[in-house]
């Protein structure tokens, strides 16, 4: 899985491609940790190229969300998420833990 991070003034945009499953979730976790370890807690996850997320992947994002929201210092928001993936997020009961935006510009504007 490819993961790229772009740092902006107000926030960081992390982009992944392909499947987020038990095999690749640790890689995403590591990338997200590197942002948090740098003391940056406003994160946009661009999911345009992500075509699959298993529950293992959602737990990585939940864990990141917890750390971002601690002391109200930031938030992890999702962008460009495919319909099927968004439906499964709701099904799993985690829909309320993430704000979802249609594009990066609106997500950046939320911070």
């Amino acid at each position: 899985m490819e993961v790229t991070i772009t740092q902006y003034k107000r926030c960081d945009v992390i982009k992944a491609a392909g499947r987020i499953d038990s095999n690749t979730a640790p890689q995403l976790a590591e990338a997200l940790k590197s942002i948090i370890d740098a003391g940056r807690y406003k994160i946009i996850f661009d999911m345009k190229e992500v075509n699959f997320v298993s529950s293992k992947g959602w737990w990585v994002l939940i864990d990141t969300q917890k750390q971002c929201k601690r002391y109200k210092r930031g938030e992890l928001v999702l962008v460009n998420i495919r319909n099927e993936i968004q439906e499964s997020l709701k099904l799993i009961g985690m829909g309320s833990y993430f704000k979802i935006y249609d594009d990066i510009v609106s997500a950046v504007g939320s911070f």
Binding site: D21, S54, W59, R70, E84
Partner: protein, 138 residues
């Protein structure tokens, strides 16, 4: 159509199993949403086999059999790991404040939500057997 393949019980197999499903998904005429449901349910089932039945990676194999009949895709997964009791799987926690939310198994719940039917059985001789079905919507 019917085909069977064995995969090593590790996380690298998950993408391969997903690809193995594709032809059968197409043949059953499932739409994009149904196809995603099948792939997610099978991924969760296989992760449960690796994590819980075998208790880790590379402890055994996952045998995956696909059968397409009358717009219905049937997936059978077999493993030689520990049995589990579906009745003892707790339902997922909904509406828990984020800070109190702890990682817990949601795979079995998801499988039941995503598929039209989920059947599980265990025998000493044959090990775990899970059969799931997804029917093309009309």
């Amino acid at each position: 159509m019917q085909k069977t393949r064995k995969f090593p019980g590790n996380y690298k197999s998950l993408a391969k199993i997903s690809r193995f499903l594709e032809q059968a998904i197409k043949q059953a005429g499932l739409n994009a949403r149904e196809a995603y449901s099948v792939k997610l349910a099978v991924d969760e089932a296989c992760c449960n086999i690796i994590d819980h039945a075998y208790g880790g990676e590379n402890k055994g194999e996952i045998e995956c059999s696909l059968l397409v009949e009358n717009d219905c895709l049937q997936i059978e997964l077999r493993d030689q790991g520990k049995p589990f009791n579906p009745e003892k799987v707790p339902p997922p926690q909904f509406d828990v404040p984020l800070r109190n939310l702890k990682e817990h198994g949601v795979g079995f719940y998801l499988m039941n939500q995503l598929m039209d039917s989920v059947h599980y059985e265990y025998s000493k001789e044959k090990g775990n057997r899970m059969v799931m079905e997804k029917r093309k919507s009309r």
